[in-house]
């Protein structure tokens, strides 16, 4: 119920943010907006697979597959920009269907560690593929020149659109099966649901989003290298989810905004990126296991309870 009430506010907020991004002219702000949008999309993708109860460290690999696909399509084949963007998502989703079909029979630590190994294996493949630029990566992945001033708006709109689609899927009847699988896979199976199919579908949808995030990363940075897509990328995404809170889709977005903005500020002051993100995760899991959104909820309940008491 609360969700249906919140939806218009969310839509309005997103529209306002996209509108505001049109006014961004400062290149530093523009780069932060791009970073935040991509980070939020990756974090939402990671959380999407957490709905079926699995931690998907292969996310980093799928972001990389999206980035390298878009990079190849633009620089090697010179195809149109739109096709390059969507092909990143499609390639990631296609690989994820095969990978998911094979690995989603395992669960928990096994699935997590396989995803981690996959990310590292894929990264090694890039660094050994001369066609993909080897260790130094690919350069010159540019969006059309006309796009340049609108880049933050474009990136944010794509991210917002995909996040919205993931939200709609999560709230649909189909999305309810995800939570059911996390809660009690056996019961879901006994009412005739094809659990492996649902898991692979969830995984592929999330990977499509991760792939597009990779495409955005490629055209925003113009340069990609294997080092961009190590398991640390998934670890950062996990930080966004944990700091923001995983209970609803707003959490990872809040986490991404908070950490990327604070992070880029701290880095500007000469801080160390790893220490910053590491400390954020450690403090979040120790002090606020429900994340910032969880704290806000509790705070709201507390204030409301006090208000009630005062009224009595």
């Amino acid at each position: 119920m609360a969700d249906t009430l919140r939806l218009p506010y969310c839509a309005a907020g997103i529209a306002a943010a996209i509108g505001a991004s049109l006014l961004v002219s400062d290149p530093y702000v523009a780069s932060v907006v791009n970073l935040v949008s991509i980070a939020a999309l990756i974090a939402v993708s990671l959380r999407f697979v957490m709905l079926i109860g699995e931690l998907n460290f292969a996310t980093a690999a799928f972001v990389g597959i999206g980035a390298y696909t878009t990079g190849s399509v633009l620089t090697i084949w010179d195809w149109p920009f739109g096709i390059a963007m969507i092909s990143g998502g499609i390639a990631a989703a296609a690989v994820s269907v095969v990978f998911g079909y094979v690995t989603l029979r395992t669960k928990g630590p096994y699935f997590l560690l396989i995803g981690f190994a996959f990310t590292e294996a894929v990264r090694i493949i890039y660094s050994k593929s001369m066609g993909l630029g080897g260790n130094s990566g690919m350069v010159g992945i540019f969006p059309p020149i006309a796009f340049d001033p609108w880049m933050p708006t474009f990136v944010m709109s794509i991210a917002a659109l995909l996040i919205f689609v993931l939200y709609v899927i999560e709230k649909s009847d189909f999305g309810k099966i995800f939570t059911a699988i996390r809660d009690n896979e056996d019961v879901a199976r006994t009412v005739g649901l094809n659990i492996l199919f649902v898991k692979v579908a969830c995984f592929a949808i999330a990977s499509f989003a991760a792939g597009v995030a990779g495409s955005l990363h490629a055209v925003v940075n113009n340069v990609i290298s294997p080092g961009d897509f190590s398991f640390l990328l998934a670890a950062f995404a996990l930080a966004y989810v944990k700091v923001g809170g995983e209970d609803n889709i707003v959490g990872p977005i809040v986490g991404a905004i908070l950490l990327v903005v604070l992070g880029s500020y701290a880095l500007g002051l000469g801080g160390h990126e790893h220490i910053f993100y590491g400390a954020a995760i450690v403090l979040a899991v120790l002090l606020m296991p429900e994340g910032v959104t969880g704290l806000l909820h509790k705070g709201r309940d507390f204030v409301m309870a006090r208000g009630k008491r005062n009224a009595d």
Binding site: M1, D173, K176, D183, V187
Partner: protein
Amino acid sequence: MQTESQNSTEPLLKTSGLTRRFGGLIAVNDVDFEIRPREILGLIGPNGAGKSTTFNLISGFYKPSSGSLKILGSDCTGRSSMVISRMGLVRTFQHGSLMPSMTVHENILLGTLHGIRGHAARRKRAEETAEMLGLTSYLAESAGTLPHGIQRLVSIGIAFAARPRLLCLDEPLTGLNQTEVTDTLSMLERIRDDFGCSVLLVEHNMKAVMQVCDRIVVLHHGEVLATGTPTEIRSDQNVINAYLGHRHGN
């Protein structure tokens, strides 16, 4: 012991020679029984008699070592639990047969997802099911926080929302008080009479089994000891010797 009755109606489920070994242990040995349309069949036996294994075998959670399983005349031996549930056999579990983080409504809705197209139709089915089980006032509550008795009903609700031909319940009465037992039993009778659904009841509560079941299969040491109506079972000398003669734990 078991005579093939001249049933005009085909049995819903029929096992022949169903056997399952775990290493050297034979948990279920050469078990033959059938479940007919519109009946409540009790599956009883002391602890370790093979009830749970049999239950897992017919619902596809274990593969039989030998023997066969037929549902509505077609061979389902070794098929997955998903295929078997799509044939109309839906089961519950002894422990925590629901989704604790979801609402009662969402829980029951799950049972409708495979069989029904369209959200509105699913909602309607879920609400009907909830009403039948007396769960309407709990629909919006989170299932994991409800009292034990209500949770038991919710798990039956998930299974029954799929409108199975055969509803298999694994000890649904455990931990219920007397009123709740009476209510659940009358609900099972309604499921049979109003919906024409058969029920397989694995249960320790002997009084309840004798009261509600049309027929009873008694397992002992993994084998079928006796099959018959409650009256026949009560007077069966084998059963009295092996089982009813001495009191059992729970």
